[in-house]
Amino acid sequence: MEKREFEVSSNELIASNTWKMNLLGDARSITRPGQFVNIELPGFFLRRPISVCAWRDWEVTIIYKVVGQGTSYMSRLEPGVKLDLLCGLGNGYDVTKAGERPLLVGGGAGVPPMYALAEWLIRDGRQVTVIEGFNTAGEVFYEREFADLGASVRITTADGSVGTRGFVTDAMDGDFTYVYACGPEPMLRAVYDRCADGQFSFEERMGCGFGACMGCTCETKYGYKRICRDGPVLERGEIVW
């Protein structure tokens, strides 16, 4: 973990209620896809934990959905605004388990961390398939970005307005070596039921985001874990629903 000042370099609407923000600053404490940053916002007591979509040494990209007052405030930030970030939080995905043909499954606001993961795995020579699940066509983002990385992309929408009608599990057919997933809990559970092994990234309301307050603890088969620090990524074999 590091506490760093970042400057907003862009902040744009890319899909329904969904914003992409680029931040410039020292991001070298981020080491794995699936980690998150915790952003201090003026006027709000708690920081906002947001997963990292992509990063370079001096740049972080996040994609966030406006769901409350904090994210609504974020959507109004202009380039040039300085923000205080706790950087490099969480365990992130273990990329060594991917095998040759990993499947990456993201639902809604769970799609962004799959981008950094896909980038990493493709650079590593893996044949990556990405399933992005949304409610409706207006929410879809990053279909082309994943394709540009070289991933095979499948889109599902609950209303069938684009891609496969249904849920991510309706597009999971194929021969995959491993599964990485991030999304709402019902989606994670459905994916869990359809795979033999994988890693799942969970969400929880957090106090600190770095393991001090015990606000986000969950039970696992190997004891209590803090989603912010021991997670957010849990191995399939340790999850207790």
Partner: protein, 303 residues
């Protein structure tokens, strides 16, 4: 050169800043980003006899100028604290610690305090009779002078180290409870624990916290904490560790002027992991600005 030292029951601290129990774990998350030996001391995560998972999530809710928590005393239990956590803490913090002990029965307080009293690392035992987030224990011991005195008496009978009773603000007369603790032998008083509160999710029309209620902390509670430290200072002669919403060096001075000898910093650590460090660094220049040569001279200075 200003002097930031303060003394609690014979234990001299380099400065009055102590991270509050439950906001600092056992120190090592913070030791990753600064040298925590600069702290006056630290109050470790509230410890009970048995390991505890705590309450179901969500356990955290945001508030204007603060937060609610309903963690519910998650901790590994006193055996693991003594066998695993204290040795790890010893690697990163080399000063006496404040051992925060909680319980669900007088027997449990007595057993845990008696055991932690044997640990060389422990400088002060802080007995939490004020946790608002557990049922059939915690705060129920701290809301009447009689039960607070009873816990104090029985813990004092099995300990040799200074015992500070940590009091709840969710009472009508905190001074009476502090007095009862002092008469029962308490070496000091810690206050305040969190204020009970709740929040409701507008869309789902249910409480945000699964536990329904939680404890409010953060800058929102500072004025309440100051008032209670003020009242307790007038009522007892033992030292006070003041806490509740302290986020800046100015808050530390204010708390000491109200009557605190040392000050715990809680929720501020969660928002800014460097909060305690920044407060300690800003104390000397602030003391110079305010014409304070020796910090211990200002304790209760506003009375």
């Amino acid at each position: 050169m200003v002097d930031t030292k303060v003394t609690l029951s014979g234990l001299t601290l380099d400065n009055p800043v102590i991270p509050a129990s439950g906001t600092f774990g056992f120190g090592y998350e913070f030791a990753e980003i600064y040298d925590i030996d600069i702290l006056g001391s630290l109050s470790f995560k509230g410890t009970t006899r048995e390991p505890r998972f705590g309450n179901p999530t969500p356990r955290i809710a945001e508030c204007p100028s603060g937060m609610l928590n309903a963690v519910g005393l998650q901790n590994p239990g006193i055996d693991k604290v003594i066998e695993e956590e204290l040795p790890k803490l010893r690697q990163v913090f080399h000063k006496p610690v404040v051992a925060n002990i909680s319980g669900f029965s007088i027997d449990e307080y007595v057993e845990c305090c008696g055991r932690i009293d044997q640990e060389e690392q422990v400088g002060i035992i802080e007995v939490n009779i004020s946790c608002p987030n557990v049922h059939n224990g915690g705060m129920s011991f701290g809301t009447s002078p009689e039960s607070a005195a009873e816990v104090t008496r029985q813990v004092k009978a099995v300990t040799t180290k200074p015992v500070y009773m940590k009091l709840s603000p969710n009472v009508t007369d905190i001074a009476a409870i502090a007095q009862a603790c002092e008469e029962a032998g308490a070496d000091g008083i810690s206050l305040i624990n969190t204020l009970m509160g709740m929040r409701i999710d507008l869309r789902r029309r249910v409480p945000v916290l699964k536990n329904v209620t939680g404890g409010l902390s953060g800058p929102a509670v500072l004025p309440v904490a100051l008032r209670m430290v003020w009242q307790v200072y007038e009522a007892v002669s033992v030292p006070i560790i003041g806490m509740g919403g302290v986020s800046t060096a100015r808050d530390v001075i204010e708390m000491m002027l109200a009557g605190a000898t040392a000050v715990e910093v809680g929720a501020a650590n969660l928002k800014n992991p460097l909060a305690a460090k920044e407060i300690i660094e800003k104390l000397p220049p602030l003391m110079e600005e305010l014409g304070i040569g020796r910090l211990s001279d200002i304790i209760g200075g506003a009375h």
